[in-house]
Symmetry: C2
Subunit: 300 residues, 2 copies
């Protein structure tokens, strides 16, 4: 029987796990009904479309993290300011639904005043990581479209910083003049390592090194896989240079897409830094489970 | 009477001047038949569509600079390597045409082996600037989609470096998450100056400062014009930091779009550097005229 629903509702995807009261996964369903494709009125129907048939008659708790809580989402779940523990169910926004089978709670994101920064969804992955590693003190890096570096101490997010590295890679490789020189897939570990090292030792001339990828494509027939790895390496290297105050001499845990985390692990490993890799989906689910535990406590 | 045609054939536009033998402009026509919209066979018809009626029966010389000479253009005009004077008519690629009223010459671009770099079109603007300022020694900066910095000495391009600043601004402001926070038009000189200064003093954490624009939009309702100027300032500031070996203690001449050159002039002016601004279209035309002079000499 499905006792509650764990929901990761991002900009482009909706991911739902049907859960038992004791935390076992009964089913997992996904759709492309991401926040970016929905108006406010379409969230409830999108959820019911995906998992309505699994709902019993009584009010099934639904715990949601991610962009569904943004201003353009289902309902705004206001940011909690750092320093703070990853916000749990007590900070969630409860939501009235038309369908009586649902009782919805949207978890908030986390904000930082100076430098101004926000996260929404990653805080739940951090909560999951801390549920599994309650004594962790160090840095959690969450590579992605907008990579986050979070300083964790005593169970709290002390500070964090977001880098647009993933989005810049996508724009540059798919839409800039570099698209003529950069392969859509493929990799060259040596070119990546070289580029990381180059960018870390001189991060400021990124915009010039980027154009060199195009020029070497024209002049030297630079291999397109090598070009792809170099572009990624230059961007990640520049990020690592800027994020140095976060990771230098620290324990770093990575949460994110496997291939991308491997790239970050390689780059940080070359700096002599051991990193801990994790299963990103599991971190999300553990974070949602931790929030659900708060609901259970409230009910008892 | 139109004695020859001066042609600036870029990726997105075709610009033609009808010229008299002594260098006077008889007419000026433009179309959006840029190189990027044409297959090889479509160049001659595109040119004839625009200016065919102005052609006399004898072989009118046509001098072309820009992307029409690229591998994907009308015919490849191979790059000349630095150090070199901006290549003139003796390095141009002559082209057979179907229409007997044309005799076409495509000027080559300029390449650099290390670091790998290329230009195509800018070398003709440099030629124009040097035709008007034959004793110039210093730096020519050509702001644009791919901004070029060229070191000029004794009439030659000694070295140059391309920055993807303009293309990154377009992609980030129009297609990234920043599009929600950045105005399409408008400016804030103070925000620009602050951002240039911030980026110049710490150019490496560009990707994080970019995301702060979004975060300040969400948290502090950052004004969208201020956001636009800040985005531009961060990118240009990072470029100036990386291009410092070019401009430090030098004379800098700017060739490019007026508004963009004003931004570069402001940013360089804040560094105590006087800059010379020029009329970009005039530089192109003077460069094409200098090449035509070579044709005249050849004929006599």
């Amino acid at each position: 029987m499905t006792d509650w629903l764990a929901v990761d509702w991002g900009t482009s995807h909706l991911r739902v796990w049907g859960m038992s009261r004791d935390g076992a996964v009964k089913f997992r369903k996904t759709s492309d009904a991401g926040m970016g494709h929905l108006t406010r009125d379409q969230f409830e129907p999108a959820l019911l479309d995906l998992v309505g048939e699994a709902l019993e008659t009584d009010r099934t708790p639904v715990v949601i993290c991610g962009m569904a809580g943004s201003r353009q989402g289902w309902a705004e779940a206001k940011y909690v300011a750092v320093p703070c523990a990853p916000p749990g169910i007590d900070r969630a926004t409860p939501l009235a639904t038309r369908d009586p089978r649902l009782t919805v709670h949207i978890l908030p994101g986390v904000k930082q005043t100076s430098p101004a920064d926000v996260m929404r969804g990653e805080e739940t992955q951090i909560a999951g990581f801390l549920a599994l590693n309650p004594k962790f003190d160090g840095i959690i890096c969450l590579p992605g479209t907008h990579t986050k570096w979070a300083h964790i101490s005593a169970g709290e997010i002390v500070s964090f910083r977001t880098f647009m590295t993933g989005e810049m890679f996508a724009l540059l490789s798919e839409q800039s003049v570099l698209r003529h020189s950069v392969a859509e897939m493929g990799w060259d570990p040596e070119a990546f390592a070289d580029a990381v090292s180059t960018a870390m030792s001189n991060p400021s001339d990124l915009a010039a090194r980027l154009f060199s990828i195009r020029a070497e494509g024209l002049l030297n027939n630079l291999d397109a896989h090598e070009a792809r790895a170099r572009l990624s390496g230059l961007l990640i290297g520049a990020e690592l240079a800027a994020a140095r105050p976060y990771w230098l001499g620290q324990h770093v845990a990575l949460i994110g897409d496997d291939a991308l985390c491997k790239a970050y692990a390689d780059a940080l490993g070359a700096q002599g830094l051991p990193v801990k890799r994790t299963d990103a989906e599991r971190m999300t689910l553990e974070g949602l489970k931790a929030a659900y535990e708060g609901l259970k406590e409230r009910a008892t």
